[in-house]
C-alpha cells in the first residue's frame, strides 16, 4: 500500500516536472516573454533541481498540503472539498444502479443458463459495456430532458438547499454512469453463480429436498456474491474516470468537472492535486475491498 502510494506520488510528480522545455512556457503560451516565463518558473519553484523539488513536494504532501491553484491562489484541498458533494452522491447513486441492475440480471441469466433469457442478458450486458457513456448521457438528455421534459438536462442544486431537486439533477447522470458497471457486474455475478451451482453443497441442498428457491437464495446466491464484492471495488476506479466524462455531459459541478476546467486553464498545481487524490482514493478503496474480501471468504488468504 505504502509502495503503491509512493509510486502514485512519483508518477504525479514526474507528470508535471519532466516536461520537455519549460512548464512556465506551456502555461503562459507562445506570446509570453522570457522574463515572464522565468518569473513563473521561479514562482512554481521550477528553477530548482528535480530531486529538491520532489523532496519539497513530498514533505508538503506529508503535511496534508496539496498546493495552491495557479489561477485563484486558493488551496487545492479547499477547491476540491467544494466540489465533492455532487461527485460523491453521483458515485453512490451510480453504484446503487450498477448493483441493483447488475446482480439481478446476472442471477436470472445463471438460473436460466443456456436459455433465451441467458442469451438476452449476455446481449444486454455486451451493449452496456460497449456503449460510450457520453453518448448514452446525451441520448438520455435528448429523450428524458428535451423530448419528454421529465428531468433537468444540466446543472445542480446543493442538497442543503433542496434535496429533492438535487436528486432530480442526479438521476440521469447516475443511470449513465451506473449502466456500464451494471453490465460488468451482471457478467461477473452470472459467472460466479454458475460456478457455485456446480458445487457439492448445492447438490447436497437439493438432495435434502430443499425447495429450489431456498437452494438458490440461501445457498447459492449468497456465496456467489462474495467475488462480486471485488468487482464493485474495481468499478470504483471506472466510476471516478467515468465521472469526469459524465459530469461534463450533465454540467455537474463536481470533481471531474473541476479536473476538466483545470486542464483547460492549464492550472497544473490543481491538476497535480486532483490526479493524486483520485488515484489515492482508488488505491484505498482497492485495499479496503481486498481486506473485505478476505473477511467474507476465509478460504482466500493473500500471500
Amino acid at each position: 500500500m505504502l509502495v503503491t502510494m509512493l509510486v502514485v506520488a512519483s508518477v504525479v510528480f514526474l507528470l508535471i516536472n519532466v516536461v520537455p522545455g519549460s512548464l512556465g512556457a506551456v502555461i503562459l503560451g507562445p506570446e509570453a516573454t522570457d522574463e515572464e516565463i522565468a518569473r513563473l518558473d521561479h514562482q512554481l519553484g521550477l528553477d530548482r533541481p528535480v530531486l529538491v523539488r520532489f523532496g519539497a513536494w513530498v514533505a508538503q504532501l506529508a503535511r496534508g498540503d496539496l498546493g495552491s491553484s495557479l489561477l485563484h491562489g486558493t488551496p487545492v484541498a479547499r477547491e476540491l472539498a467544494n466540489r465533492l458533494e455532487p461527485t460523491i452522491l453521483l458515485a453512490l447513486l451510480a453504484t446503487t444502479v450498477a448493483v441493483g441492475v447488475g446482480v439481478p440480471l446476472g442471477t436470472i441469466a445463471a438460473v436460466r443458463h443456456r436459455t433465451a433469457v441467458d442469451v438476452a442478458s449476455l446481449g444486454v450486458s455486451l451493449i452496456g459495456i460497449s456503449i460510450p457513456n457520453f453518448w448514452l448521457g446525451l441520448n438520455l438528455i435528448l429523450l428524458f430532458g428535451l423530448y419528454l421534459k421529465l428531468l433537468p438536462t444540466a446543472g445542480y442544486t446543493n442538497v442543503a438547499v433542496d434535496a429533492g431537486q438535487a436528486l432530480r439533477y442526479l438521476i440521469l447522470p447516475a443511470i449513465t454512469l451506473g449502466l456500464s458497471n451494471a453490465a460488468l457486474i451482471a457478467r461477473m455475478s452470472r459467472a460466479n453463480l454458475l460456478e457455485v451451482l456446480r458445487q457439492d453443497y448445492v447438490r447436497t441442498a437439493r438432495s435434502k429436498g430443499l425447495a429450489e428457491r431456498s437452494v438458490l437464495l440461501r445457498h447459492a446466491v449468497r456465496n456467489a456474491l462474495v467475488p462480486t464484492v471485488s468487482v464493485i471495488g474495481v468499478s470504483i476506479a471506472l466510476m471516478l474516470g467515468g465521472a469526469v466524462v459524465v459530469e461534463s455531459v450533465f454540467a455537474l459541478p463536481g470533481v471531474g468537472r473541476l479536473m476538466i476546467e483545470s486542464v483547460q486553464r492549464r492550472d497544473f498545481p490543481m491538476i497535480q492535486g486532483l490526479v493524486l487524490m483520485i488515484a489515492a482514493v482508488v488505491a484505498v478503496v482497492n485495499l479496503a475491498v481486498d481486506l473485505l474480501y478476505t473477511l467474507l471468504n476465509p478460504a482466500i488468504r493473500y500471500a
Binding site: M5, V7, L126, P132, L142, G242, V263, R266, V275, V282
Partner: protein, 300 residues
C-alpha cells in the same frame, strides 16, 4: 478481482484439435462471426474512406447547414454545413489508427513488462509494484493529465493512451506468464538445459499469443472509446478534426434541432467497440470455453 479472472488458464493442454475450415470455426461461434463482421466493416469503411466519402470532410457550406439526412447528404450536415457521412468515414480512419497504434504499443510494452514480471523474481517484484501504482489512475484521468502537459495533438493522444493501457495489458500477461511457467513443457525445456531466454522465446511467448490477441482486441476497443471521450471533452484531437468524438461534441449544442449530428457518430463508436468486444470475448471463449462470459472486457 475474482479468482476466476485472476489466473487465466489459456489453451487447455490435452485437448485434441480436429482440423477444420475457418468457416466451421466461425459458424460454431456466432459472437466471433458477428464481431469480425462488424470490425471488418469498420476497417473497410476506414480504408475506403477517400472513395466512400461524398464530400471533403472539412468542406463548409453556409447554404447547407443543418440539413437532415437526404439524397446528396445522406446522413445530413452539421452547423457549418459539413457532410456527416464523409466526416464519419474519415473519423473511422482516425479511430482505427489510434486503436491499432495504442493496442500495438500497449501490447508490446505490456508483454515485455509481463515477461519481466513473471520471469525475474527481483525485477518482477519492482515492476509489478510500479504497475499496481499506475493502475490506480483511472484511464481517462491519466490520459487527461498527460495531454494537459504534452498538448492536444494526435501523436500525444496516442502516446498518452498507450501509457494508460500498457500496465493493464502487463497485468494480464504477467498472470499468463506465471501460468505458462508452471507447465510441464516449460519445466522439460529447462531440464533439457535450455537457457531462460530460450524458454521464454520458444515456449512461453508462442503460447502467450492467444491471450495477447484477446488483449489486443479489448485495448483496441478501449482506445477507441478513450480517444472519443477525450476529444468529446475538448482535450483530445483539436476542434474541427473529423474524429467521432469531435463531431459528436460539436453537435451537442444543436441536439434538439439536428439530433443526427450527435446520434450517428455515437452509433459508429458504439458498433465499432461492440464488434471489438465481441471479437475479443469470443476469442477468449474459443481459447478456453470454461470461462465463457465470465471475463471482464472494459478497462478504464
Amino acid at each position: 478481482m475474482s479468482p476466476a479472472s485472476n489466473a487465466i488458464p489459456f489453451g487447455s493442454a490435452a485437448m485434441p484439435r480436429p482440423r477444420r475450415t475457418l468457416w466451421h470455426h466461425l459458424s460454431g461461434h456466432p459472437g466471433l462471426l458477428v464481431g469480425s463482421a462488424l470490425v471488418g466493416f469498420v476497417v473497410l469503411l476506414g480504408v475506403l474512406a477517400p472513395v466512400l466519402a461524398t464530400h471533403p470532410p472539412q468542406q463548409v457550406g453556409m447554404q447547407s447547414r443543418f440539413l437532415p439526412p437526404q439524397p446528396g447528404h445522406w446522413l445530413g450536415t452539421d452547423h457549418l454545413g459539413r457532410d456527416i457521412w464523409s466526416r464519419i468515414v474519415y473519423g473511422g480512419q482516425l479511430s482505427l489508427f489510434v486503436g491499432v497504434f495504442v493496442a500495438t504499443a500497449g501490447c508490446a510494452a505490456g508483454t515485455a513488462l509481463g515477461l519481466i514480471g513473471g520471469y525475474s523474481k527481483r525485477y518482477g517484484e519492482i515492476t509489478m509494484r510500479i504497475i499496481d501504482g499506475l493502475m490506480a489512475f483511472p484511464g481517462v484521468v491519466l490520459g487527461l493529465a498527460l495531454i494537459a502537459v504534452l498538448g492536444a495533438r494526435l501523436s500525444n493522444v496516442v502516446f498518452a493512451l498507450s501509457v494508460v493501457y500498457a500496465p493493464r495489458i502487463a497485468r494480464v500477461m504477467h498472470a499468463v506468464v506465471l501460468e505458462l511457467k508452471e507447465r510441464e513443457y516449460t519445466t522439460a525445456a529447462t531440464a533439457l538445459g535450455a537457457t531462460g531466454t530460450r524458454v521464454l522465446a520458444r515456449h512461453v511467448l508462442p503460447n502467450a499469443v492467444g491471450p495477447l490477441t484477446v488483449e489486443f482486441s479489448f485495448s483496441f476497443a478501449a482506445a477507441v472509446v478513450s480517444e472519443a471521450s477525450l476529444s468529446f471533452l475538448g482535450v483530445g484531437l483539436p476542434p474541427g478534426t473529423p474524429s467521432w468524438g469531435v463531431v459528436l461534441s460539436e453537435g451537442r449544442n444543436y441536439m434538439l434541432r439536428a439530433p443526427w449530428i450527435t446520434l450517428l457518430p455515437g452509433l459508429a463508436i458504439f458498433l465499432t467497440v461492440m464488434g471489438l468486444n465481441l471479437l475479443g470475448d469470443s476469442m477468449r471463449d474459443f481459447l478456453d470455453p470454461r470461462l465463457s462470459g465470465a471475463g471482464q472486457m472494459r478497462r478504464e
